[in-house]
Symmetry: D2
Subunit: 277 residues, 4 copies
């Protein structure tokens, strides 16, 4: 299993979110509290959008995030208004750069915590369902990348919630065909650089943790002394595998079987149901 | 493209073959003379059989062989009677451990120099031809690993020359279906720990270089002063992408479209023709 | 801080000791029970003596031991009668191969768990005390390597206990000069390939844990069903940072301020007192 | 030996300078024309100043630059008005991150091509000359880092040409004391984020190559069709180990025993003479 965070809002140095909080993602790489594993040391990645470039930059490496000096450097010197960060604990697939999140295709990024149950056995059937043109761009061996490519096959770039629902539907169908009771366990973040979708779902109805930050104006009222809250816009939002700190009122659980949309204007929170692919 | 060597004979420290010769494989990683690229710095690997273990040990790493201290250590401290060594120059696929040669399955090892032309485009069709049970064990993204798994699908463990011929036939057939004029370029070594097969073939009839060492007794007569030659058995044999040194009479080119078998008793050299898969 | 083990006895596949036990060193890399840190993922190393080579082979790499496939391969294919293994949790110095244990000089190997307090500040003074000829061979930046080179400066190759005592004495003297109350905390293993010394000491008299295995014949009487115990010689001995499993009667704590010698014939356990350098 | 480039001028994506030119630094990592080695694959680094941060970001990694995907990502997504890039071919010291250039201290960066002759032997004497406070921050084992720390000891932050001259003087003095005829061979770039100094010197008067780009307005007159030249400011300047392309009139050799200063207003070119330290 893994841990991740997604940030959208006022441009900040990545360090502000990645390292500064008391229970930061980097701290979680050594001491996760809510994850299946306390240690997430099997590679990591960040992906960020700049001011004027369409495609996000992606920096991924094997080895633990906690000791990676290059990650520290980038966090200290790169600003972004929308970025992903992910720390990995492999469920069996190789520790290699092409298995690190986030995955990118054109302007889209995808990251995932969870697993396709018995992925080893159903991997081939899922691979056959990937659009042959897209198949050419798959480089790694993880269930997470497969989910991304299936979602793209099902129209991610046009309608992300529907594409993810069809991906989930296919995984469950193929899993059931192979006798897997609960084929899917996932929290997924996906973005096109404008909007950000976050999904929480599992076949057994007992999904990995996922939280979103409270509206900034509410937080400002609760914590009038926090300078950081005065500096960021009302629309700033964080979605995380587990809370980054202990600030009362700051975090809300994403409900089971639902997804949220972070966007200009009002954010949304909706229920999520897999669809027949 | 890449460079490789295969050794079979009297047990030696790997160092004797890997580092000691004047134009050793390690030297070739920086200064290949006959390769498509002079530099082979995109990962490397060795695989060796021990005295009493069925399965070979495999040590593979990303980065250049020339500066790898662990390779130096293993070469200085491990003996083997049958081992492979490979240095990689990627033709596009990722530099990662699962793309480094030799590949292993059970007691079998495989390594390759060459390429499937337009592999990116025909990869999916080839993947579909791999036995579904074997497909589960593919970890990397190279044409070389795909060739290995296709050969296993076609019975490598029972009849290596026939399985490799059918693999080559399938690659050519699928390539031609996609409009590729010369789909295959290969020099391949494969072993089960007892016998060693080496293939040289290309669709265009202009294959990468491959050499085998002259019979030890002939070499002893030519070079009575060389102590190394007195220490190794008559059956000792090397097969290499390019000669390891300048010793007159030591190296013979494997002919176009042929394969050799290194085994107890007389070695063999036969012609190679792809077969309809 | 770190974890380590030293094995001396009947030649075994490294795997037998490194991976097989229920709370193996590899398990400790993720879930140490007695260490200062539960995670030891900042590099690792093994060093082993072969049958007929004077100098040990050393395999060290950055990144965690738990996911390193090459370590797994070597453990599955290399046998040794005397070997060291070490997993590292850095106390600040860089994660790099030259900072991984064991350190080697000629036929000698050294590994360490602990720290020189305020090493950053007193490093230069200690470096000045290293024999100028030996200084040339220092490659890393750890306190552990410095301790090894100081011990060599003080005659490690002639009288290890005395050399280590003088090293400890110097560290304490220089530390005190810089106002450090408790300059040294160490468990150290050192060997020349024949004998094996293990030291437990700290300036504050509260040292990191260290255990040695009970005499094999006693263990055989306690556990007559364990096949492994029937296969190894009476002289087989393990020294470990923390017990590898739950076998009753198997482990004895090395007392505070003492050292043990594993050797042909009777092993020894003696008190350790730093000496004026 | 190594290759490097230093850029100062209109902010550009690093890619523009690092990858786009026909004989780019990345191309030089495989096919250097003027270097001592054609291959520079033993690590690399970049360092860049952002708009509003004092301290440069530094990204360094082991392994070759040509296959490093993270370098490619950063080059595609980071802009800078002043940056260094370096590719390394080790002259013997370990391939590790702390030995990769550029080296940084506070807001200062340093990179080097060349070598201190017999560094192994005179390293200790040079280390003793480093300011004890600065000594604490040395992390690697190269002659290049040593030169940087000696220059800081001699007042780099106040008067770079004088500090570098005293460093060179000391290296020559200590080298001569050890019987080394030509102790120093160097091309060095150093910057504080405002100004950029580049030195070319060797004890034997036969230094590694170094070039600076012709004034932009001159180049514009020569090549009125080149869009890139219309986009960059008059003050834009490149200093490189070897020319990045074949553009006639673009490159001028830095004379033997001289240094240049790139700064607001007129740049300078002066002679360089080592001084007694």
């Amino acid at each position: 299993m893994c841990r991740w965070l997604a940030y959208s809002g006022t441009p900040v140095l990545l360090d502000t979110i990645l390292y500064k909080p008391s229970h930061s993602l980097i701290d979680q790489s050594l001491h996760s509290r809510l994850g299946v594993e306390t240690t997430n040391g099997d590679g990591f990645g960040i992906g960020w959008y700049g001011q004027d470039l369409d495609t996000p930059g992606v920096f991924r490496d094997i080895g633990p995030a906690w000791s990676n000096r290059n990650l520290r450097e980038i966090a200290d010197h790169v600003r972004s208004h929308l970025f992903f960060a992910h720390i990995r604990a492999t469920t069996g697939t190789a520790v290699q750069q092409t298995n690190c999140h986030p995955f990118r295709h054109g302007r889209w990024m995808w990251m995932h915590n969870g697993a396709i149950a018995d992925f080893h056995r159903i991997r081939r059937d899922l691979a056959l369902a990937v659009d042959p043109q897209l198949f050419l761009d798959m480089e790694g061996s993880t269930d997470s990348e497969m989910m991304f490519f299936l979602a793209m096959t099902f129209g991610l770039e046009k309608d992300p919630p529907s594409a993810v629902a069809r991906m989930a539907g296919l995984v469950e169908q193929v899993g059931h065909e192979h006798g897997v009771e609960f084929p899917l366990q996932m929290t997924v973040a996906v973005t096109d650089g404008e909007r950000l979708w976050a999904f929480r779902y599992s076949s057994e109805g007992h999904s990995r943790s996922l939280f979103y930050s409270t509206a900034v104006e509410t937080l400002r009222a609760l914590h009038p002394d926090l300078e950081f809250l005065r500096e960021v816009s009302d629309e700033t939002r964080l979605i995380v595998s587990e809370p980054l700190g202990e600030m009362p009122g700051a975090w809300n659980e994403v409900p089971e079987s639902s997804y949220g949309v972070v966007q200009h204007g009002e954010d949304e929170l909706r229920s999520f149901v897999p669809q027949a692919a």
